[in-house]
């Protein structure tokens, strides 16, 4: 009998944490999407004009019940207030179970939306079992009264064990857990990574290749810049002896010490040129008077020769 009471006492913090977690993830998604009605799930069952108020009401209800469960756990909310909050929680989960059943039959491709953008996988038996179990858990707390502190170490350990076991059960019933773990360990491929051009330029200027070839450049801002996949290309006007030339840098898009490749092109013919030896240091570096818009040089003719000058900066 004592065990049953202990099990009931474990439910209060667990239910409160789940309700507040659900509310926080929904609000987080809404905040990122810039709209309060961005959350999907059972709101998709309603007409478009009602989705926003329904989404707001659901989040508000979760917040209110979560806070209410905590506030009425002690002596402050004993009897009627506590029972109302716990009954409301049980009703919420019963309604949620029914709504998910309906959602599964009407819009099977939509996720439950229980934990915002983490709940995008379609509703399945796990998603359905979870609110049903939580409804039972909430009903078990109706006659519990105020939550008591553990009287002994053994009792505390038993309650902790129950909490852990229930958490494991809920984790098994939560497809969101896998999604959250994937997101935690996710690293975006370089092809999809958004990296500002200024950062690429800064990384280039810190590179050995830049220091080696800066003496040839006649401007410190590129005349052309574009990106393909993991590389950003920057073209600088240059002078090689008495010839107009262009130095092309290819910078690999990564945050630290990017790979830099470079080539020297004759601006008039489009032919690749050999690098001068030894490279001279540019007298203009660090001067601001050359920071101006540089007109693009004339388009080079087609085919460059073979044996292009190449070097890499690892």
């Amino acid at each position: 009998m004592h065990i049953i009471f202990m099990a009931g006492e474990v439910q209060i913090p667990l239910l409160a944490a789940l309700l507040l977690g659900g509310c926080a993830t929904k609000l987080g998604r809404a905040f990122r999407a810039g709209s309060l009605d961005a959350a999907l799930g059972p709101t998709a069952l309603f007409p478009v004009r009602l989705r926003r108020p329904v989404a707001i009401a659901m989040s508000g209800l979760e917040l209110g019940l979560g806070v209410g469960l905590i506030a009425t756990a002690g002596r402050f909310g004993s009897h009627a207030p506590a029972e109302c909050v716990r009954l409301g929680t049980a009703l919420l989960f019963v309604v949620a179970t029914c709504a998910l059943l309906e959602l599964r039959s009407v819009r099977p491709e939509i996720g439950c939306g229980c934990f915002g953008e983490l709940s995008t996988s379609p509703v399945n038996w796990r998603t359905l079992t979870r609110p049903a179990l939580l409804a039972v858990a909430a009903l078990s707390t109706l006659r519990l009264g105020s939550v008591q502190q553990a009287r002994s170490g053994g009792q505390a350990a038993t309650m902790l064990g129950m909490l852990v076991a229930e958490l494991i059960l809920i984790a098994c019933l939560s497809p969101e857990l896998g999604e959250a773990l994937v997101r935690l360990g996710y690293s975006e491929p370089c092809e999809l990574r958004v990296l500002p051009a200024e950062r690429t330029l800064a990384a280039l200027r810190r590179s050995k290749q830049w220091r080696r070839h800066a003496g040839l450049l006649t401007a410190d801002m590129p005349v052309d810049m574009w990106r393909e996949l993991c590389w950003r290309y920057l073209v600088f006007p240059a002078r090689y002896g008495d010839r107009e030339a262009e130095v092309v840098f290819g910078v690999f898009l990564r945050q630290r010490r990017p790979l830099v490749r470079v080539a020297l092109i004759d601006a008039a013919t489009g032919a690749a040129l050999s690098w001068p030896s030894p490279p001279a240091r540019g007298p203009w570096r660090g001067r601001s008077f050359l920071r101006h818009v540089v007109a693009p040089s004339p388009a080079p003719r087609a085919t460059p020769g073979t044996g292009l000058p190449l070097s890499t900066d690892i």
Binding site: V48, C190, V194, R227, E228, L229, W231, V262, P296
Partner: protein
């Protein structure tokens, strides 16, 4: 500017001219990229050295010219050709295409009994009118013989901004003017089956007859996504490197302002946000469903029509800001993965074997030179 009207095949190896882009700049970019990776143009491997860390001669230890095999480009001579222009004259056996106002020469093509014509529906070639805007696909083996004609075909793809009794006004992106689509009673049922929510905020994609100031919507080009345009679903996460080939739906668009009819090229859904779509600079504009590698105007795509097996290399000529809002599938032959991978010009779409009145073909793109 590479046009289908010229003598060159649809898919020349160096289709390095980009529709609206500065062709010289695009050519320079290709040259510079080759130089950076030590590649010799026209002999270089695709697409490995262009996009992967550690690829390329210097980093991988391979010599120039080594690497993945060159894409199996279809012989340009076997590709169907696309011709666009104004119908100047038509008889049961001859079609004359030209440019009413421009200096372009008249072109005469032979009409056979097999030639199919679309003008709001299947029609006889003699049903064409003088002044109709036509897109013509020539017979693959006989370049003077017409295979297929689409007359006055138009398409509106975008977000509904206003709904009337028998029309909707559609926003096609920041750089295109809003379009009016009138839906005649005979096509209303057909369109509403595929587009049940003709309300502001939802997406629409309709093909029909181009009129002076509106499109007469006749054919739904896809099924309407269930979400409003500003609430796109999260695209699936991609771990590791993006695959070398990406499959999805390839669609077509009408010539935009400044885009010459007949130009070969493709709008791409993921231009580099630093230099890409105008829409990227608008706060709150949806970024799109497709998670595709970032490219720039002038990048080359090899696009394969999975239905016909035809493929060719096309330059990226613009930003597919609206196409990236769709997570639909193409079901022309089988069911494609979700998302639109390219929005082709009419000439490119037809040259790749697409049927304009079907709206899409299942496509696989490879990113290369």
């Amino acid at each position: 500017m590479l046009k289908a009207r010229g003598d060159r095949g649809c898919c020349d190896r160096c289709a390095g001219a980009a529709g609206m882009a500065d062709a010289a700049r695009v050519a320079r970019r290709r040259l510079f990229k080759d130089a950076v990776f030590g590649l010799t143009p026209d002999l270089a491997p695709d697409p490995g050295p262009l996009g992967r860390e550690g690829d390329g001669p210097g980093a991988s230890g391979q010599g120039p010219g080594s690497g993945p095999a060159e894409p199996g480009l279809t012989d340009a001579g076997r590709l169907p050709r696309a011709v666009t222009g104004t119908v100047l004259d038509v008889s049961p056996h001859v079609l004359v295409i030209g440019d009413l106002d421009g200096p372009g020469p008249e072109q005469r093509f032979t009409l056979t009994a097999d030639a199919m014509t679309w003008r709001g529906g299947q029609a006889e070639p003699t049903g064409l009118h003088q002044g109709d805007q036509a897109v013509v696909r020539l017979h693959p083996s006989q370049r003077a013989v017409v295979d297929r004609i689409w007359a006055n075909i138009g398409r509106v793809t975008g977000t509904i901004v206003e709904q009337g009794h028998d029309f909707v006004i559609v926003d096609e992106g920041a750089i295109r003017r809003r379009q009016t689509v009138r839906i005649p009673a005979r096509a209303a049922g057909r369109i509403q089956v595929r587009f049940p929510t003709l309300q502001p905020g939802y997406l629409i994609d309709v093909i029909g007859l181009r009129q002076d100031d509106h499109l007469e919507g006749l054919i739904p080009a896809t099924s309407q996504p269930a979400y409003p345009a500003d609430r796109l679903p999260e695209p699936p996460l991609i771990s590791g490197h993006v695959p070398d080939t990406i499959s999805g739906s390839a669609t077509w668009h009408e010539p935009t302002t400044g885009e010459p009819p007949g130009v070969l090229g493709a709008y791409y859904p993921a231009l580099d946000p630093e230099t890409g779509c105008v829409e990227d600079t608008i706060a709150g504009y949806p970024r799109g469903y497709a998670r595709m590698p970032y490219l720039a105007v002038g990048s080359a795509l090899m696009i394969r029509n999975d239905c016909s097996g035809t493929s060719c290399v096309l330059p990226v000529t613009g930003c597919a800001a609206v196409a990236r809002l769709f997570n639909d599938r193409c079901v022309t032959c089988g069911t494609s993965p979700r998302g639109r991978v390219a929005d082709l010009t009419q000439a490119s779409f037809v040259a790749l074997g697409g049927e304009l009145d079907k709206g899409c073909f299942n496509a696989t793109i490879s990113i290369g030179r």
